[in-house]
């Protein structure tokens, strides 16, 4: 009996053992086979070299500086004295290093299972390392490896276009394997927009290793895909020239070919992108954030401003497309209008009115009343959708990240945003580019190119991507030829006839420029104010934003220059000299080639006699 109990226990225990062994070795064979394979295979990624960014003439805007990183052997923290000694040695050699930070980095990554060297210094410049190398290389625990670091030689001159790279954060690391491995990712500008292209693809080596991570043989090798460079359409010389001209002025300037190639895009003030590489310090970040001129905001795509009078050409086109309004009929400006039964006066900028105003005159003299009336004829929804089609209030599609849409309001937008119905008075305001209207300088540049060529382009900075040419995107827009002609003539007048708002500065240029000024109010002017105070006498923050958007040459438009100066007062007088200087510079550098037109050679007087289509018009439409 006793032996039977003993044997029963023995067999019971053996039975469980056999079942369990069978389950592990036969049933779960596939699973454990996989784990065994994972054990011996160690994949080392080969980091790709990030592509470089150049301007149109090959000047390096973003490059990889070669230097060194310093790593220490693992498992040193079991011998703190030695670790301290090495850290002291490094600090002696490179006084910029912080010993506490280094030791903390080491302790954080050190563990009994980590058999890799631990990187304690991310980057040491080539020239600094040269003298120290022979001594450091002799220390057994120190490993010095080559390391690249992103560098922007033009610093703040191209910061808003090129952007910068920074350390990959945990969210980015989760989404992007390459960025995770490289530890660096484009955070802004071209660096971010074309990050996938620039960063390349990982290569890898798969090795067979032992438990202590010793390599035995190579199983797989794949080269990284890297060095994919980007050439931009940007002309750095022009970019620098504009920056220097804009010194002390807050604003944005876009110089674009009418095909959409941006050759200069400046947002002032700017910042030094090199501060961000490898992480920006708290102090630097605070300074950037607290600057009221917002150096960190890319004003040509992230700055939205009321377009002011620059919107008027668009409103005119909208009017030409609406059956309820007409551009063939002139308006009479008495200096103000009232809407409905309200006594509220919507004033023209000219106190005593412009008298009889046709389309060309309305642009030349920027008559507000003309547009008040046209907008009331067509209504806000028609106006808004037409303006959207001209590229206002919609993203331009430029190759920069997170571009803003801006706003051209309509009834639905207001209901959604403010839960309130639309008022007639707001239509009037929207027609002169005030109120809810908000656009980016890039949108205005694109819209100006459309007025000049009747093609809607997609602005872009990329000229070649990894050697492949970027094709310009041109979309023809159907615009009433009469309206377009009158608008162009009006814009010609603005720059070239005495009394035009930009005549003073634009008329002296060796090429013929057409354009439009705009003054967008930051604060509204009270009803009781009889005389407007001069912009120069207002407080800075209350001064209007000043616009000037132009294209040239007038009869063969090739370039668009749009300029916005924050709180710059009047469009023409503030922006005029700047834009004129840019045109002069470009002319001197041969941008206009033999294609320059002087006043003598141009015949701009319209020959087309376009009759208003009578059947479409009823007088009641205008009442």
């Amino acid at each position: 009996m006793r032996y039977k109990i003993v044997f029963a226990i023995f067999f019971f225990i053996w039975g469980i053992m056999i079942v369990r062994l069978y389950h592990i070795s036969v049933k779960s064979n596939y699973y454990y086979e996989k784990l065994a394979k994972e054990n011996i295979e160690r994949t080392l990624y080969i980091k790709p070299v990030r592509g470089e960014i150049t301007d149109t003439s090959g000047k390096l805007l973003a490059m990889n500086r070669i230097g060194f990183s310093i790593s220490l052997k693992p498992h040193l923290d079991s011998n703190p004295e030695k670790l301290e000694k090495i850290a002291d040695r490094l600090v002696d050699t490179f006084p910029d290093l912080n010993k506490t930070v280094m030791l903390n980095v080491y302790k954080k990554q050190s563990s009994p299972y980590n058999h890799k060297h631990i990187k304690v210094v991310d980057f040491v410049q080539y020239k600094d390392m040269m003298g120290a190398y022979p001594q450091l290389a002799n220390i057994d625990e120190v490993l010095i490896e080559t390391q690249t670091k992103r560098y922007y030689p033009y610093s703040f001159y191209a910061a808003h276009v090129v952007g910068y790279t920074g350390r990959t954060n945990s969210k980015e690391a989760e989404e992007d394997e390459v960025a995770d491995e490289v530890g660096e990712i484009g955070k802004a500008g071209i660096e971010k927009y074309y990050n996938d292209l620039l960063q390349g693809e990982l290569g890898h080596i798969t090795n067979k290793v032992t438990a202590t991570n010793k390599e035995i043989e190579q199983l797989e090798y794949e080269k990284p895909v890297d060095n994919r460079n980007i050439e931009l359409t940007l002309d750095m010389d022009l970019q620098i020239m504009i920056h220097q001209r804009m010194k002390g002025i807050t604003g944005a300037i876009v110089v674009m070919r009418t095909s959409g190639e941006v050759i200069a895009a400046v947002s002032t003030p700017s910042y030094n992108p090199n501060l961000f590489v490898g992480g920006i310090s708290k102090d630097n970040w605070k300074t950037l954030q607290e600057d009221l001129a917002h150096p960190f905001t890319n004003k040509f795509v992230h700055g939205t401003y009321p377009p002011g009078s620059t919107i008027k050409m668009g409103v005119a086109i909208a009017a030409s497309q609406s059956p309820k309004s007409s551009i063939y009929y002139p308006e009479t400006c008495r200096g103000f209008i009232t809407v409905g039964n309200s006594s509220h006066k919507f004033r023209c900028w000219k106190k005593h009115g412009h008298g009889k105003v046709d389309l060309r005159k309305s642009i030349r003299e920027s008559c507000d009343v003309y547009y008040y009336n046209k907008s009331l004829d067509m209504g806000i929804d028609t106006l808004s959708s037409s303006l959207n089609k001209l590229g206002l209030g919609v993203a331009t599609g430029i190759d920069l990240p997170r571009e803003y849409n801006g706003v051209i309001p309509d009834r639905a937008w207001k209901m959604k945003r403010y839960k309130k119905p639309w008022y007639m008075g707001e239509t009037v305001i929207a027609a002169i580019g005030q109120g809810y209207d908000n656009v980016t300088p890039m949108q205005v540049a694109r819209y100006t190119a459309l007025l000049a060529t009747s093609y809607l382009v997609t602005p872009h900075f990329a000229k070649t991507l990894d050697g492949k040419k970027v094709k310009p995107e041109l979309k023809p827009v159907n615009i009433d030829p009469y309206a377009l002609e009158q608008i162009r003539l009006g814009m010609y007048d603005v720059c070239n006839t005495n009394g035009g708002t930009a005549f003073k500065t634009m008329s002296e240029l060796p090429i013929i420029v057409a354009g439009k000024t705009g003054t967008s109010q930051v604060v509204s002017i009270g009803q009781d104010v009889k005389e407007r105070i001069k912009e120069e006498e207002m407080e800075y923050w209350k001064r209007s934003h000043a616009w000037l958007t132009t294209y040239a040459p007038y009869n063969n438009p090739r370039y668009v220059i749009t300029s916005l100066v924050e709180h710059g007062g009047h469009g023409g007088s503030t922006n005029g000299p700047i834009v004129a200087d840019i045109y002069k510079w470009m002319y001197a550098k041969g941008y206009f080639g033999s294609d320059t037109n002087t006043t003598e050679t141009i015949h701009f007087v319209p020959k087309a006699k376009i009759k208003p289509p009578k059947n479409k018009l009823k007088m009641t439409d205008f009442l």
């Binding site: 006793r2 053992m17 062994l21 592990i24 070795s25 454990y32 086979e33 784990l35 065994a36 011996i40």
Partner: protein, 380 residues
């Protein structure tokens, strides 16, 4: 002298050859595996085999039945003193005080290995001197015999070396169970053990508690690697070069405590079943020796003790490798690389062979069959 030689002839006549033959395949497989893992350790292992063989031969020829009456008390006392010595002047390795450094020769010994032999020997001697009555031992004798087991158990458990201590405890009480103790005592012990389990757990060392909680949760790195080794072996096992778990050193202590995992990786489920079968046959054979010799309490105690030793060592060792028991550091008996344990097993086998050869009945009663026949029916 001549008479002595004449007497020793009995040894060859009554020698249990089958028992020795059963061990051979185990040694063969074990040494092959050790050779594949580390040829240097294989050489050392061969040296242990030689030493163990010599120890076996010597213990075969020692007339245990004649010297037991004085030897057992000295041996037991010396071992107990060594255990106390560990407590006083022992060397601590990894938080456990298990070793004594012998002065002069610089050798360290682990007294808990020797105490196993002395406890089995002491029990066997005491039981043979005063065999249990029909109903089994009563409370008084049971407590007396228990002290022989419990005193060294407590000393070893305090080192701490819970693995060895439990082996001693289970082997000792296993012998008592087989020999015969009143069943009411067993019932009482199991009930009170069950009730006091929480208290016992609290008296464990932190590292022991950690092992138990590790065992309850995810398998530790060691066990995980062992599972991968066994699991990747499959039914047939893999060639030496493909046994990456062991050859590339992912499997820890692969020649000693975890050698069974390499067996699984190298020879697969079939290989493991073969070794398991060999152990089972050996243990069953030893138990049957105990059953067949139930009249001779010395043989019975020794054979049953050896069977229990084998069973507990191999059971706990394999259970811990496959994650069914906490990792307590017990080797696979006569299979793992290691000297002390192997030599001690050899000595116990030698003693058993000697006892078998010089059975009491045969020595003093020429007509042994009659004596045996008259005693046998008493046992169940």
């Amino acid at each position: 002298m001549l008479r002595w030689l004449n007497e020793q002839k009995r040894l060859f006549k009554y020698f249990n050859y089958l028992l020795m033959v059963q061990i051979m395949p185990l040694l063969f497989i074990s040494s092959m595996l050790i050779y594949e893992i580390n040829p240097v350790l294989f050489k050392k292992q061969m040296l242990y085999y030689v030493i163990a063989f010599l120890a076996f031969v010597v213990s075969c020829f020692i007339p245990w039945r004649k010297i037991l009456w004085w030897f057992v008390s000295i041996f037991y006392t010396v071992n107990l003193m060594l255990l106390v010595g560990v407590e006083l002047i022992g060397i601590s390795i990894l938080g456990a005080k298990r070793w004594i450094k012998l002065p002069g020769i610089g050798l360290t010994i682990q007294p808990s290995e020797f105490i196993k032999v002395s406890v089995i020997m002491m029990l066997a001697y005491l039981i043979s001197r005063r065999p249990p009555p029909m109903r089994g031992y009563g409370v008084a004798s049971f407590i007396k015999l228990s002290l022989i087991i419990v005193i060294p158990f407590l000393l070893i458990a305090k080192e701490p070396d819970l693995g060895t201590a439990l082996v001693l405890l289970i082997t000792g009480f296993g012998i008592l169970f087989v020999v015969g103790v009143d069943w009411k005592i067993w019932v009482f012990i199991f009930v009170s053990l069950g009730l006091s389990a929480p208290v016992l757990y609290n008296s464990l060392h932190d590292y022991q508690k950690k092992r138990i909680s590790d065992f309850m949760g995810k398998p530790s790195y060691h066990v995980q690697q062992a599972l991968i080794a066994i699991g990747s072996g499959g039914m047939e096992g893999k060639s030496k070069d493909e046994s990456t778990q062991t050859q590339l050193k992912f499997l820890p202590i692969s020649t000693s405590d975890f050698i069974f995992a390499y067996l699984g990786e190298r020879l697969g489920f079939k290989g493991m079943m073969l070794v398991l079968g060999l152990y089972a046959l050996l243990i069953i054979h030893l138990m049957y020796i105990a059953i067949w010799n139930s009249a001779d309490y010395l043989i019975m105690s020794f054979a049953a003790g050896l069977a229990f030793l084998f069973f507990i060592y191999m059971g706990v060792n394999i259970y811990m490798i496959i994650g069914l028991a906490p990792v307590v550091g017990l080797p696979l008996p006569m299979f793992s690389h290691g000297g002390t344990s192997f030599v001690i097993f050899a000595v116990i086998f030698g003693i058993l062979q000697n006892l078998l050869a010089f059975k009491k009945e045969i020595m003093y009663n020429p007509d042994s069959k009659i004596v045996m026949a008259s005693k046998k029916p008493q046992k169940d």
